[in-house]
């Protein structure tokens, strides 16, 4: 039988890691940065709460449930703005989200290869346009066009639903939704493009080898594979739509009303803060900060929901 020699002592394997000062500095820097982000979130929340306290104390629950916002009578109900933000964002998500996803899917999978770069570049360019330009374009081009050409047609066909009234100035919820849709297309399209490009080749090939055509492979295998990422893209787009201020303020009509008619003027949380804040009295200011608090909570909740949703979709399909 072989004998095993005793261990050589002392062992040459280092047991204690050498202190590295650059490592220490890097660590404290990153910790500080992380801490700063957290601090900013907390301070923002704190200031929104304290700032809105006077209005909240006066209105009580009515601040959340009240549907009239009348500065002269010092009535501050936030519902019209919650309505405006929610509906315009959902319209943007439905219109812009579907166009963004379809555009990218088309570019990545179905269009000739040479189209991918130039159109991708143009779409990215859309993201670089300042929102005030979107607002101007909305006022100068989109609103007259919608008012003269599009809205009457929609009213003629779908007027019976009550969603599309007869008279319209061209400003309103749907117009805001359309402008927002165009603004979120680059976000949705760019992320969708990235997630589709990293879908493994053998997923598509597997589908094609079973006799699927390219559209079928795209719809039934690639999009599901990328669904977690696409969901993330949609939610980022929605986040952008929720907070967008300037362009919305310029086309939504700024009227604190709740109407089911999408052609009628409305107002959003962000647009109303922007239009009223400059000349607001103390209580009104506090109420506007309260609108900001609602927007802040909405955005946080959306982010949280998004993470849960993405994780669930990933888990369900088994894609890591």
């Amino acid at each position: 039988m072989a004998t095993i020699p005793a261990d050589r002592t002392p062992s040459t394997i280092p047991t204690k890691s050498k202190f590295r000062w650059d490592d220490g500095i890097f660590r404290s820097l990153t910790t500080a940065a992380g801490g700063a982000v957290l601090a900013i979130v907390i301070i923002t929340a704190y200031q929104l709460v304290t700032g809105s306290l006077p209005a909240l104390e006066k209105e009580g629950l009515g601040f959340l449930t009240g549907s009239s916002w009348n500065v002269g009578e010092e009535l501050f109900g936030s519902l019209p703005f919650v309505w405006g933000t929610t509906i315009s964002s959902i319209l943007a998500l439905v219109l812009g989200g579907s166009i963004g996803v379809m555009l990218s899917a088309f570019l990545v999978e179905l269009a000739p290869k040479w189209l991918l770069k130039p159109i991708g570049f143009l779409v990215d360019l859309l993201a670089a346009i300042p929102s005030i330009i979107y607002g101007l374009w909305g006022i100068l081009v989109l609103i007259p066009f919608l008012r003269e050409r599009v809205f009457p047609e929609i009213h003629a066909v779908f007027g019976w639903t009550g969603l599309f009234g007869e008279k319209s100035t061209g400003t309103g919820l749907l117009t805001a939704g359309i402008v927002l849709a165009i603004m979120i297309i680059p976000t949705v399209a760019a992320i969708t493009r990235e997630v589709l490009l990293v879908v493994p080749r053998n997923m598509r090939d597997g589908a094609l080898a079973l006799g699927a055509n390219r559209t079928e492979a795209l719809k039934t295998v690639m999009l599901p594979y990328a669904s977690g990422g696409i969901l993330g893209a949609l939610i980022l787009g929605l986040g952008r739509a929720l907070g967008e201020t300037m362009a919305v303020a310029m086309v939504i009509g700024n009227s604190a009303t709740i109407e089911s008619d999408l052609f009628k003027p409305a107002a959003s949380l962000a647009s109303n803060i922007a239009t009223e804040f400059g000349e607001a009295g103390p209580l009104q200011k506090s109420a506007l900060i309260g609108l900001g608090l609602i927007l802040f909570i909405l955005a946080l909740a959306l982010n949280f929901a998004a993470r849960m949703l993405v994780a669930r979709v990933r888990r369900k399909s088994g894609v890591q």
Binding site: L210, G211, P224, G318
Partner: protein
Amino acid sequence: MLQYSTAMVQTVLSETDERFELPKIRAEKVDFHYGSFHALKDVNIAMPSHRVTALIGPSGCGKSTFLRCINRMNDLIDGSKLTGKLLVDGSDIYAPGVDPVALRKHIGMVFQKPNPFPMSIYDNIAYGPRIHGIRKKAELDIIVERCLSKSFLWNEVKDKLSQSALALSGGQQQRLCIARTMAVDPQVILMDEPCSALDPVATMRIEDLIAELKTQFTIVIVTHNMQQAQRAADYTAFFMLGELVEFNTTREMFLNPQEKRTMDYISGRFG
């Protein structure tokens, strides 16, 4: 090992008599280009029906390329071009008017790396039939059970059909992919190094499965494993630098290679 292989070759010998074989796939003067790169040079071959044909050769010699010509997967590569004739059951699959999408229903393919779709085991198998218009649940149920049974997977997965296929082991995933291919009822199954990502036990299972499958399908398998070719294949084609060097029954090829290059390769002198 050698003992075992020889025994296998002996059984194959008694079953296979090339004089009676009907060709299923025939290549006549096939040349294939990736852009300016000449990947296949004047390939002529006739692969018999309901037999297993192995494609062997050093890596980069064009085995996968040739395989992917048979179900026209290479069509998807920009700038690729095939000349010559590739006939399945006597008709040219590259003739004008042949729809590659329709062709692929009849010529299935199993890939090197298992590629189950990110969906349930059931939906993976039902994928092909659904694409081809089968919607009835009862009908799909039958197909799913039949294909999973044939690929020796049914007992392992019958209680978790609705779970994600990605949770299966590599070997199970590959058998799932074979089952998925069978579900569209192809005539030919092409396999590109189906065991290269698998452990020896999983590999053995796939080889057993291949032996079973040839009663129903014509099988072409790319392998870099010479033992596997000897165990699994009735015929073997040896490729080098885009040329088909030699094609013969596996027994003849390994016992009595006609070409020096074949001899050198199978005796492991280069590879």
